[in-house]
Amino acid sequence: MEFSQEIKREFDQIVARYPQGRQKSGLLPILHRVQEEYGWLSTEAMNAVAGYLQLNPIEVYEVASFYTMFHLRPVGKYVLEVCRTGPCCLVGAETLLQYLQRKLNIGIGETTPDGLFTLKTVECLASCGTGPVLQIGPEYLYHEQLTEQKLDQLIDSLRSKS
């Protein structure tokens, strides 16, 4: 696969932040940009990134599989990333997660049959004072102090957008 000239220009700008010969430093920002464009990181996309950065493809796979933000399989249009770490649990994250599983009728790591929602748990999002919290990529806006009502509204508005 080939990236568009426009995206390649963005890659060039990213790589320009680092000293000569250190273009590998651009790998994470570039993978984020590719995921924003395609929704997930296919092998072909990773190979193309490796080609652009002059890396062995395995170097890209190693990195992409290390970091939790990268989706190595197709995901729903909206990936709901709910914090499951201690402080959020003290203010009801687990109950809310149960509610969300029932509401969407999927388990954690699964995608709704209409391809709209994937439910994921993530670790502490630095929102412990405003938990429970979830994020939705690629903008990763924070939805904080969640309640069942707020979740209902959020899901409804996402459904009506698409």
């Binding site: 092998t43 062995n56 395995i58 170097e59 190693e62 599989s65």
Partner: protein
């Protein structure tokens, strides 16, 4: 002379050049040096990961007589003038080492009787010295399917202890690494991500550097228990590598070819796949004589008489008498 640094390990002193690690100094001293599961001297940047070589630095240096606050990995810690190290003489070190061995074993199958590496497995030997008689681990173990990575090598991740040696070997011996460490934490695995074969003329060396039975030679798997085979040093003229190998024989048949390991179990002269996999006829080789085997090793067992192979040279006295 004045450039040398004096280090004392378990009460024995030695002078070594600056830059020498505690592990290297201990190996030079002889006796019981710290074990190593990830460190591999011929491969750059290995070490520091497995933590079985932890030692206590009781005195940092002459100038700084304080102990180091934590146990240190002897394979990556450099000697300083007047350093005092405790290895086998420290209870703290032995306890930590037992702990690390226990950690390495919780996700490693305890099925040595049916493992092809048995008899030449570093983890098996380490567990014998530092392991518990019974496991305290009651939870599920990590398991993977066996996969073929190329025509010659089988990967069984279930046995892997993530020492990274094979990754460094591929980086440093082959032009283009196609395998690496994927994922993270205790679900990390060695792999190619998309099923690919590792086809480089030095790729077979990842078998020799693997301390356990995770990477094995498909042309040899289960042909023979290693202690029933007879190793011979041999060589041939090879335009790709040194051509110096060990032939593992069953009767007159060569069942396996490996590189030669030194007294620390490390290969210093890596061999090519052509020598390793494609030359299984005795006529291909000049046989130097029986391989000198550590009498402690099970491979030395049942080798009480001089094998009938000629010309036999370099026959170690221990080899025939014990």
């Amino acid at each position: 002379m004045s450039d040398l640094l004096k280090v004392t390990i378990d009460g024995n002193s030695i002078e070594v050049p600056p830059g020498t690690t505690i592990m290297q100094a201990a190996r030079q001293l002889g006796g019981k040096y710290p074990p190593a599961m990830c460190y591999y001297e011929p491969l750059k940047n290995t070490g520091g990961k497995c933590r079985v070589c932890l030692v206590k630095v009781a005195q940092t240096s002459e100038a700084n007589p304080r102990p180091m606050p934590k146990l240190v990995a002897s394979c990556i810690t450099r000697v300083e003038q007047g350093m005092v190290v405790e290895n086998e003489t420290s209870k703290e070190v032995l306890d930590a080492r037992n702990g690390v061995v226990e950690f390495l074993l919780i996700n490693h199958p305890l099925d040595c009787p049916v493992c092809d590496q048995a008899g030449e497995c570093d983890l098996q030997n380490l567990s014998y010295e530092h392991g518990h008689e019974q496991t305290r681990y009651e939870e599920g173990r990590r398991e993977f399917e066996r996969i073929d990575i190329g025509p010659y090598v089988q990967l069984h991740m279930t046995r892997c202890i993530l020492c990274y040696r094979c990754v460094y070997a591929a980086d440093q011996l082959t032009g283009q690494r196609v395998h690496g460490v994927l994922n993270r934490g205790d679900v990390s695995e060695i792999g190619t991500y998309i099923q690919q074969s590792i086809e480089n003329e030095f790729s077979g060396n990842i078998i020799d550097v693997c301390p356990v039975g995770a990477l094995t030679d498909k042309t040899y798997r289960f042909k023979q228990r290693v202690w029933f085979s007879k190793p011979f040093d041999a060589h041939r003229n090879c335009d790709k590598c040194c051509g110096k190998v060990v032939l593992w024989m069953k009767g007159d048949t060569i069942i396996r070819v490996t590189a030669r390991k030194n007294e620390f179990g490390e290969v210093t002269d890596f061999i090519c796949n052509n020598c390793r996999f494609e030359h299984k006829q005795a006529a291909d080789w000049t046989i130097e004589g029986p391989r000198v085997i550590d009498p402690e090793s099970v491979i030395g067992a049942n080798k009480y008489e001089l094998p009938v192979v000629s010309p036999a040279v370099n026959v170690d006295a221990k080899f025939v008498s014990e």
